[in-house]
Each structure stands twice: as C-alpha cells, then as structure tokens.
C-alpha cells in the first residue's frame, strides 16, 4: 500500500470507528474523575438511578449482593443466556440517553480502569452495575485515596 499511497484518495474509515473508542474512554475518565471527588455511595448518575437499580435487582437478584457485583465475569455476561437476560433488561431503558452506547466497565470494583480489567459493555449495563457498586459503597475507596 505504501508504494501507491495517494493522500487525495486515502480513506479514513478506521479513524471514524476509533471515535467511538475515544468517546468511551472520555466517558470512563469523566466517571473516574467524579469518583475521585465524591464517594460513590453519595454520587448520583442519572435521574433514573432508583428505577435502574430496582429493575436490576429484580431481573438479576444475584447482583443484589456486594460480592457478586464487585467482580463481574465477562464470560457470564456475554454467554448466550447472559446476553439474552441482559438484552431484555437493556430494552426496558430505551428512553435513557445513550442507553446502548458502547461503554467501558471495570471487571472489579476494587481496580482502576486498566487494559486487562475492563469489559466493553453498553451504557445501561454500566449504570446498573456501577449504581449497585456505589450503593454498596464498593467505590468509596477511590475518593479516599
């Protein structure tokens, strides 16, 4: 490709795709910035926090338990049954802004965002899990560092 590279005809498709990644990273940085300032247990994320949590615990009773919400297993989340359950949950929140945007999610509430410890999820999954973590005080360590 290098020999017949023509700047006039070069395509930029890759870059456009990367824009999504950029947005996801900015979102993660912004959320982390908030957690560093405010203990998660006192943080509000959306107007619908209570609805999201209630529905989350109803559809996924196993996550109403600090131990399970602290560590998310990507293979469970993305297994065929996991996907089906999550899809049903996600569709209940269509009215929430960016509900199906690609969003970074920490696998462990006890870790920062890192290359290995990050799952690619959608925004409403991020809200559900992070809201539960905040409720259980699992993110409070970030602001008291």
């Amino acid at each position: 490709m290098s020999s017949n590279f023509d700047a006039e005809k070069a395509e930029n498709l890759d870059d456009i795709e990367k824009q999504f990644a950029v947005k996801a990273v900015v979102q993660a940085e912004t959320y982390w910035g908030l957690l560093e300032k405010i203990p998660g247990s006192k943080l509000k994320l959306t107007k619908h926090d209570d609805d999201i949590l209630e529905q989350f615990f109803e559809d996924f009773p196993e996550f109403n338990n600090p131990e399970n919400v602290a560590n998310i297993k990507e293979e469970d989340m993305k297994s065929p049954t996991g996907k089906a359950r999550w899809r049903e949950f996600c569709e209940k929140f269509k009215e929430i802004e960016d509900y199906n945007f690609g969003t970074l999610l920490r696998a462990k509430a006890s870790d920062e965002y890192s290359q290995e410890g990050t799952i690619f999820a959608v925004r409403i999954q991020f809200y559900a899990i992070e809201l539960a973590r905040n409720k259980f005080g699992l993110n409070d360590w970030v602001s008291s560092k």
Partner: protein, 176 residues
C-alpha cells in the same frame, strides 16, 4: 555556519543535531518516504490543532507514520470565533444598507422592539443569579460547576439537556 549568520527569511531549514540523528536512525528502519503530503494535523482535546506544513512523512511496513516538521498550534476555537465574528459583521452591514433610507416611525419602532428583544435574550444568557433550578438537585449542579469550572447557568442547561445525566453533562461541558 551558526544560526545567527543566516539572514532572516532565508529559505534554509536548520536541523538540530538530535533531529539529524533521529532522521538517520529512522531511515535505517526501512521506512518509505511518502511524497506529496502538504500538511499533517494533530487534534487535541478542546479543538486544539497542531499543524505541520510541508512535512517529511515516512511510513513503515506496519503502517506507522513518522512525521518531521515544525508544528504550529492552530486554535480551531479561535478560528471559528473569528469566522463567526466576520459573518456577523457582514450581516450587520447588509442589514444597515437595507435599512439606510427607511426612517419612517414604523421602522423606528420595529428597530427599538428588536433591540429590546435581543437585550432580553442576552440577559437570559448572562444572568446567573436567577437560574431556574426546579427539578434539579442543587448538589448535582454544585458538582458539575466544581468539575468543569463553568457558570451555574451553563451547568443547569447541560444537566437539563442530558436529562439529569451527570457524566454526559460533564462530558459535554469539558470536551465538546
């Protein structure tokens, strides 16, 4: 020949020792020079653009690019603001030309009305003391103001626009 001996504006490019070394090293890495590229730009957050005019561009087999040249900061926000200002001036001029001979009482009343309307709008934008915060949590607004250093009015607008979504509101205010 030292730098001082080169007359100003002369068409000579001075390579520092380090740059020379780097160029030599990079040429050994089997890079192909790509001719015909007139400008390379880097975009940083906040619409800050670094532009290199007439760069030397090399490409590796793996698709990595090495660019040499003098980077100049190109502030897009400034450019946009300048362009908008120019446009506003032009519009004002055309309007002035249209209204030049119309001095009837009607047109004067209309002018006064327009003036008071636009003043009202301005006041709405700038007045931070009387921001309508109904339905919003003052604590949320405090957090946004603290995180983004914007006015309270802007924080309220962003929070409303994103239907109370804190992260999205902060993202809009700090990055877009």
């Amino acid at each position: 020949m030292s730098i001082e001996e080169i007359p100003q504006g002369a068409d000579v490019s001075i390579l520092s020792k380090n740059e020379k070394k780097a160029r030599e090293l990079i040429k050994k890495l089997n890079l192909k020079e790509i001719k015909g590229i007139t400008r390379v730009t880097f975009k940083q957050r906040g619409n800050l653009i670094y532009a290199i005019d007439q760069p030397d561009v090399y490409r590796s087999a793996a698709g990595t690019y090495v660019v040499f040249g003098e980077a100049k900061v190109d502030d897009m926000n400034k450019r946009i603001a300048e362009a908008q200002q120019q446009q506003a001036q032009q519009e004002a001029l055309t309007k002035a030309a249209e209204n030049k001979e119309d001095k009837s009482p009607d047109s004067i009343t209309a002018d006064l009305q327009n003036a008071s309307i636009s003043e009202g709008q301005k006041a709405e934008e700038e007045d931070d003391k009387d921001v309508d915060e109904t339905g919003l949590d003052p604590k949320d607004i405090d957090i946004i103001v603290e995180q983004t250093q914007v006015s309270r009015g802007k924080a309220v607008n962003a929070l409303r626009k994103h239907d109370g979504d804190m992260v999205n509101a902060i993202m809009e205010l700090s990055y877009e």
